[in-house]
Symmetry: C2
Subunit: 377 residues, 2 copies
Amino acid sequence: MLRAVGVVAEYNPFHNGHAYQLAEARRRAAADVTVVAMSGNFVQRGEPALFDKWNRAQAALQGGADLVVELPLTVSTQPADRFARGGVQALAQLQCGAVAFGTEQPELDYAALGRQINALPPHPAGAVDYAQTYATQMNQFYQETLHVGLDDPNVILALGYAAANAALAQPMALVPVPRVGVAHDAAATSQQLASASWLRQHPDQLAAYVPAAAAVLYADAAATRWADFWPLLHYRLLTDTPAALRRLYQMTEGLEYRFIEQNWAAASVADLLKRVKTKRYTYSRLSRVALYTLLHLTNEDMTVAQPLRILGFTPQGQAYLKQIRKAAGAALLTRVNAAAGALTAPYGLTVRADRVYTLNNGHEQNFGRAPMRITKG
Amino acid sequence: MLRAVGVVAEYNPFHNGHAYQLAEARRRAAADVTVVAMSGNFVQRGEPALFDKWNRAQAALQGGADLVVELPLTVSTQPADRFARGGVQALAQLQCGAVAFGTEQPELDYAALGRQINALPPHPAGAVDYAQTYATQMNQFYQETLHVGLDDPNVILALGYAAANAALAQPMALVPVPRVGVAHDAAATSQQLASASWLRQHPDQLAAYVPAAAAVLYADAAATRWADFWPLLHYRLLTDTPAALRRLYQMTEGLEYRFIEQNWAAASVADLLKRVKTKRYTYSRLSRVALYTLLHLTNEDMTVAQPLRILGFTPQGQAYLKQIRKAAGAALLTRVNAAAGALTAPYGLTVRADRVYTLNNGHEQNFGRAPMRITKG
């Protein structure tokens, strides 16, 4: 029996820090196989991924992963707590014995904290203060109640994984991996480590901070940015009515009017989000709402249970897939044929969204694309 | 009292034949003033107009019109019979004593035919034959019942005007103007006459077939084509659900599925319409449905009673406006301020649609634009 450790990831893009984390996850969990549940072409910050899912999955397989599956679109574009829950559930479906995650505070007892979070009241006690964003208040509440430092978004995600894991019938082992190197928005260091955020802002410097094989991949790949979709988002906000926008996920509390009112004068996605921004919402939340608008994701759409698409594997990952096929089979999607890819099928949501991605990068993302089999050198 | 003759027009673009028709209308009706109810930025064939409404209104004022008002969007983008009805109603609101129209068959008794049409059963007798387009069948029915030749689309429109006019409480005089020169799709002749269709296909030859003042205007103007909106239409059909498309005007009988199914493989608007085409529908009908989709015009939107926007006038036209203001005032819109141009106001539909037009041509179409006052030289 092969033992697997799982990681929930975006790899936007895959870099040296991710390769280190995969190696550490394997070592600390004493696992035979590393399983990655990765965001597809749209990521949790409410943005298109810089490189497409095939490119990023290949980089991961060449950089230490044995099996990469695509997180459902209805998971990868969610707020952090739901993203964490969907990711952990995916790893559980993939029969992982352990879940590893990067954190600045590896010394915390995540299993205990996860159980504590699940026992908390569903909302911060007391009235919500509209002068602060909800995320800030949640963090403050966590800090005051759980007495943990929450300066790093990874700790928030780690607590999300811990809580989701504690809620499982059979919780996995939790494997915190100390983060090394740089904070999310800090500049690159001399240790060939840089954050994904920093790399997205400095694509010309990618080669120095990613594995050699990934550098080759990225050099050939078309990069995709929110800005590439501005004409389409601008057009949609121009022509959709408030009633149509209200059908979209998280378009609540009159946000549809703010988006419509600010749209015509806005010059870019960034400018639009700045115009719509209030203290009530984080940029990430607004960016996600803009993404739901671009992709026309309704409340109903976001309740769809989507399969886990297999993007690729190493020989070891392939052996593991064979081992778990009986237990995980129904949740897995290997090939997108006409039936699986029909717009009315659960995976159809991803087909639709990926076609928007394809409008920019020109590459078909689903039909005719089999899982990649990567034999590491 | 100034006497006015009215014309329903598109002027897409305004050419020598239109100038001739305006002069003949004035002469035959013995009118002091020529009033034009002109399509705005989107025309009856289901297309954006080649030049914007201000450009075309100016060309008309310099070419023989005294007053140009914009037909409601909810009229200008309708099938021929509703377009004709809305146009005639606009001229009646503008207190015209006569309505002039071009026709290949000026000898017909249009007043009598109009009354006959209104007395016909609402649909062709017998079952609809799906192997023919509805328009073809209507024409055949007209031919067999009214014994008129219907080889020219102008005759169909003329009959539409006649029927709408006959339905008015106070019908106007009908002034058929013999069409000279060329058929709609024929090549230009040596008489400096060419059809608007031919000119749209040969924009480099515009100067030879339009009044000198219009040639100057067109030389400076940005041309707009259906093709310019293909990326937006393609995107919308990619992301809208069948349920969302079904809310659009004339998206009936499962057409939404045909559009969605054919969209991804289509390479252009023309290719899409060709793929969606069946014997049941004319290209014009499908092009209009594509336009309703681009502009997101719902069934509800198309029932909105919109004002007649004054685009411009000559001194004579201005005097006439003063004369009719009491009778026609409520139907007229002179300036688009924040209230009149609000997206929830009746004219808001036009503001929304015109902004889509502006995405291509770059010129604001409504706010801050006063009627043009043209003194013919």
